[in-house]
């Protein structure tokens, strides 16, 4: 037991120290937790706290469950409806460009159909965590485009839920039309049941959980989140979507605000283990061998995000500076890409996928914030005619 505790403590501390160093130069934490896993993992010379990533598997999947659970807690359709049709259109265009472009790119790389479906999400979906943090840290909350950026992120979150629901049956590799339809049916029945509970039954669930005592509330909601995630996994729907949906259910309950506050430190701790454990499985040599596809995907994402920023700017009649802010802020990739890589690894897809995701996330998680903080000088180089046909508004 002692050596396992040393391994776990070392993992936390290594992740924390590496992320602190990066934080000083303005880098987000998510990729740095992963870097800590790579550096202190079995594939890199030097200290290795954990020889076998499987030792951390249970705690890492707890991190994944809490990540998605929190996302579900924060998710409300009112935010989306309140933003109007233009916001949904902007989010839709962003997804169409980035996930669509990602899908085309992934088929061009030619690692297989199932791999391409995963890569489309990896390349196409931004990191809500990094985007939100960036907006707060760059002090852009008062800017006109901030509502738009956060709206696009909400549309992406909704897409993630549907996408994860579809992905699992596809990845399970069932043969034959009937078997595939059955697993799709199971996935959607699960979504609909939990969706119905969220709509009509959250009062009942809320009363079952509710307690004035923070300790009892914490123990109960953690139990519920992990149990539903596990049942989802057993049904072949993926624990990620199970955790997300139970989060949506509890978001409607009277204790929602308290649960959000209580789960946050737990999520932060175990999500760090999840990112660290992912890093453990990465061999730097493997990342180097897929440097070509990584570079191509990074260039593609840069182009598609600039295109999405310019389109959104036209839709909302924004100037070059807000357009650049939109494009480069939502460029950051992080937790979703890594969650998808973990799902893919679990399904036994092409082994090149994990190092590809590691390299891609690392480059964009660092390049995204750096570019986003320098949009003023970038915007000056954007020709005005790209923004609005009649010159700047």
């Amino acid at each position: 037991m002692g050596d396992e505790l040393v391994a776990l403590g070392g993992a936390f501390l290594a992740a924390g120290i590496v992320a602190r160093l990066g934080n000083r130069i303005g880098l987000p934490t998510i990729p740095l937790f992963m870097v800590a896993g790579i550096v202190f993992g079995p594939h890199t010379p030097g200290v290795a706290f954990v020889e076998d990533p499987r030792e951390l598997a249970l705690l890492a999947s707890l991190g994944l469950v809490l990540l998605l659970f929190y996302l579900g807690l924060e998710f409300t359709l009112e935010d989306l409806i309140g933003g109007g049709r233009r916001l949904v259109a902007a989010g839709g265009i962003y997804l169409l460009l980035n996930v669509g472009g990602g899908l085309a790119f992934s088929f061009a790389v030619g690692w297989g159909t199932r791999e391409a479906l995963v890569m489309a999400g990896v390349v196409g979906i931004s990191s809500s965590a990094i985007v939100t943090k960036l907006l707060v840290e760059l002090r852009r909350l008062a800017n006109p485009e901030t509502r738009l950026i956060l709206g696009i992120v909400v549309v992406e979150d909704l897409f993630v839920a549907l996408y994860l629901a579809i992905l699992q049956p596809v990845l399970s590799g069932t043969q034959g039309v009937a078997a595939t339809l059955t697993s799709f049916g199971k996935a959607f029945a699960f979504l609909i049941i939990l969706g119905a509970i969220a709509r009509w039954g959250s009062g009942v669930v809320g009363r079952l959980l509710s307690s004035d005592d923070d300790e009892l509330l914490t123990v109960c909601f953690i139990g519920l989140a992990v149990l539903v995630a596990g049942v989802a996994e057993e049904l072949g729907v993926s624990e990620a979507i199970g955790a997300f949906m139970i989060g949506v259910v509890l978001a409607e309950s009277p204790s929602a605000e308290r649960i959000k506050r209580l789960v946050l430190p737990l999520r932060d701790a175990f999500a760090a283990v999840f990112f660290f454990a992912f890093g453990l499985s990465i061999d730097v040599g493997d990342v180097a061998s897929v440097a070509g596809p990584i570079g191509a995907a990074v260039v593609l994402s840069l182009i598609l995000n600039v295109a999405a920023g310019l389109t959104a700017a036209r839709l909302y009649r924004l100037g070059p500076q807000p357009a650049a802010n939109v494009g480069f802020t939502i460029l950051a990739r992080g937790e979703f890409s890594l969650v998808l890589a973990a799902v893919a690894a679990g399904a036994g897809l092409d082994a090149r996928l994990s190092p590809f995701v590691a390299g891609y996330v690392l480059v964009l998680a660092i390049a995204g914030p750096l570019l986003a903080s320098r949009t003023t000088s970038i915007a000056r180089r954007v020709p005005a005619r790209l923004i609005s046909p009649g010159g700047p508004p």
């Binding site: 924060e74 409300t76 009112e78 935010d79 309140g82 809500s128 939100t132 907006l135 707060v136 002090r139 852009r140 909350l141 008062a142 800017n143 006109p144 485009e145 901030t146 509502r147 956060l150 709206g151 992120v153 909400v154 605000e257 959000k260 100037g319 500076q321 807000p322 802010n325």
Partner: protein
């Protein structure tokens, strides 16, 4: 809502998913103050000087929940009330009591309360007129309003904008 010219008392509210809510308040001379209330209780204040385009990085500070409440109390005059307060607005439940001062160019100046149809058109009631040293309580409908009159009005908060437009007019002060 957004098509209407905002009066100098209107606050706009925007939900920032995952962060909290954003309130934009007009300040004097066309400046704006933006307050972001985080779910965590943190508040961010952004000050946009007059004529700021909106995408320039403005001055900003952050406050904890306690600090924000104290600032709110100072701004509200809980510690010290200046002697010359043009408008003292008090809200009791949904009831609003406010003082306004008429200017020479106000639409209500030199007209009677009946002519202005204040109650029918704005749903607010003028309960008193303060003129020089004189206080006219419950003024008659034929009372003619003059520049410099201070009107004490009662009504619902949402009707204040209509009253200000109809009787006091736009402009500072």
């Amino acid at each position: 809502m957004s098509e209407r010219q905002p009066t100098d008392l209107e606050i706009s509210e925007v939900v920032l998913p995952g962060i909290g809510r954003r309130y934009t308040l007009p300040a004097a001379d066309g400046a704006r103050v933006v307050v972001v209330v985080h779910h965590s209780g943190r508040r961010d204040l952004y000050a946009f000087p007059p004529g700021a385009s909106g995408d320039e990085p403005p001055a900003s500070i952050s406050l904890t929940d306690d600090q924000a409440r104290r600032l709110g109390a100072v701004l509200g005059g809980a510690y010290f009330k200046p002697a010359v307060v043009a408008d003292v607005e008090t809200v009791i439940g949904s009831l609003l009591i406010d003082w306004v001062t008429l200017r020479t160019d106000s639409p209500g100046t030199d007209r009677s309360i009946a002519e202005l149809e204040i109650r029918r058109r704005t749903r607010m009631t003028v309960v008193a007129v303060l003129r020089d040293d004189e206080t006219i309580l419950a003024p008659e409908p034929n009372e003619r309003l003059r520049a410099g009159d201070r009107l004490v009005i009662v009504g619902r908060q949402e009707d204040l904008g209509a009253f200000l437009r109809h009787v006091v007019g736009s402009g500072d002060g």
